[in-house]
Symmetry: C2
Subunit: 353 residues, 2 copies
């Protein structure tokens, strides 16, 4: 717990002075002011987070954390639990969506097993940091103990801290875990206070009847556990997941090191709700890559005050949306740093109309 407290204390608001200097440079670049739209805003945010008027996005990382969920016993989805481990294997063989996306943006990926239900064969690209073999079925028990919740977050902090030693200018978050929209939805409902039915989606493709059942399961999990919305660790322990805790830790640890965090979709959004409830200033370090097809995601992002960069109806997870967001962040940083100024280019200044 000390590690979480220390990390939270280390997160300072982004530097306004640096943002002002970045804005000054934006205003001198050879383009009509504001004409790069949201990429300009993004460049200023990156400057403030990194504390550099010319933000640098060179070393890019995606941390994709896998975990299983006992609540799959309630049959809330279409895929059997063993698919989580198979997805991790597919990722380790380079065949998953995130492998292609990460290659495209030249980012390294760190795959982490924080709670897959079985032991995976060891692989040089896999960090094994198990907090358990899947969570418990949250319809009957808390998903994990408070100690496991703390362990999950601290493990996330450790992972990103270790990654930062290799050079890390920006980090994206990703998830793998059959059933993980269910705890994410529960977290969304508890923390934002919205009705479960308003934030529950079809995950990987549920029918109307399956959707009704999923809503009932989430309501039961909340009624059974009574998570306290003002206590993020309690929410994580009772209705969360190991990968969700891990991603919350990654976000906190990155922010403490002035590293911008590009959050992926719905599962990363749930992690962000936990992390930002622990450390409200964290919100200023988060970049929402995209708006997921999951209906609760919009509510999460509104609650966090984040505007997604992309709306491509993606819902794959793994960090695929985050990869696209990292690409846009790199473009934003590079235009700010590399475009010529009016003076350099000897272009006439704007006239009087």
């Amino acid at each position: 717990m000390d590690k979480i407290t220390r990390t939270i204390k280390a997160i300072k608001p982004p530097d306004k002075n640096t943002v002002a200097r970045a804005q000054e440079r934006q205003d001198t670049l050879t383009k009509p002011p504001g004409s790069l739209g949201r990429l300009e805003e993004l460049s200023l945010r990156l400057a403030g987070i990194q504390g550099k008027p010319l933000p640098v996005i060179k070393d890019k990382g995606i941390i994709t954390i896998a975990g299983d969920h006992g609540v799959v016993a309630e049959k809330i989805g279409n895929w059997p639990q063993e698919v989580t481990a198979q997805m991790v294997d597919n990722f380790l063989q380079g065949g998953a969506g995130i492998n292609i996306l990460a290659r495209q943006i030249n980012a390294r990926i760190t795959g982490v097993d924080m709670g897959v239900a079985r032991d995976l064969a060891s692989h040089p690209s896999l960090l094994v940091r198990k907090c358990g073999y899947g969570t418990k079925n949250m319809c009957r028990y808390p998903a994990m103990t408070t100690e496991q919740a703390v362990q999950a977050i601290e493990t996330g902090i450790d992972i990103v801290t270790e990654e930062a030693t290799k050079g890390l200018d920006i980090v994206g978050t990703g998830d793998m875990g059959i059933g993980n929209t269910t705890p994410s939805t529960a977290i969304c409902a508890v923390i934002t206070g919205k009705p479960v039915a308003a934030v529950t989606g079809r995950g990987t493709g549920l029918s109307d009847a399956q959707l009704e059942h999923k809503i009932a399961v989430i309501q039961k999990a909340i009624e059974c556990n009574h998570p306290d919305p003002t206590q993020p660790l309690d929410v994580l322990a009772k209705v969360g997941g190991f990968e969700i805790g891990g991603l919350a830790g990654v976000m906190l640890g990155a922010a403490a090191l002035h590293i911008p965090v590009v959050i992926d979709g719905f599962i990363s959004g749930a992690a962000a709700l936990i992390a930002a409830s622990l450390a409200p200033v964290l919100k200023d370090y988060l970049i929402a890559a995209h708006l997921s097809a999951e209906p609760g995601h919009r509510i999460m992002l509104e609650y966090l005050g984040l505007e997604p960069l992309l709306r491509l109806e993606m819902r794959l997870g793994e960090g695929t949306g985050a990869a696209l967001g990292i690409f846009l962040a790199e473009v934003a940083a590079r235009t700010l740093s590399e475009m010529a100024t009016f003076t350099e280019a000897q272009v006439s200044e704007k006239g009087e109309g």
Copy 2:
């Protein structure tokens, strides 16, 4: 004119059979069906256009065409005409926004002078294909002759045909030209039939009074010239621009060669209106990169039946939006081609719920 007619005849509808084969493969990839959202749709479109069930996006090009506009004499913007030539110089020195974006996506850029008002110093990266030294002031005269309109389109066809000989799997369109939102707005109003006031925007940043003046100028140009909305060459000649005609030619020429075209913002949209009026089947070859901050752009895209991939409030032109769209197209093609199938990855198929 023969060249335009021949090119239009060569444009065939995308191949439905290939699209079906691409869809079959999408359905076998290791992800929930549809979970890459609009990237999946895009991959199918690319397959159909290229006639390849595994579309290839390797050789990427952006064609950025510059031209000047006599209507700047009516003081419709804030920037003096000489800035067009200076922007081209800045581009040739590598300092423009499009230079950074093209480098980021590993695309080559072809810069073309089709109508800058003065002669530019020769440069290995600049094609000089002048149709004139700026258009005429369309408030008093047709912007160009019909012969020049034909020449502009044919030049665009030639440029993309030449580029294709070097390898070109996808092409983005870009523009440079002080004042070019004014003819683009006129084209939008004439072809879509919308009132000028509904499609006129603030370009590089006009005040309310300047916006009113710009609307009046466009209305005057249309009243003075009476362009025939059913005759795209007439519209181009009377209220168009050389770069707009050139970009229309690029689109037609690319489609004739089964090359997908990623259109940039408002000026490319005007070119697309001209080109798609000449050859309606062209629409199936166009990918709308983004929704520009110019209000008429949404109306153009709706008229063309295109849904933009990005909404980043960009309005820089030069092909900067197109570059981002090409990146997404490459991601779409690569996920379709390179992700593992369920069989390859030995991942369990979706269960019965």
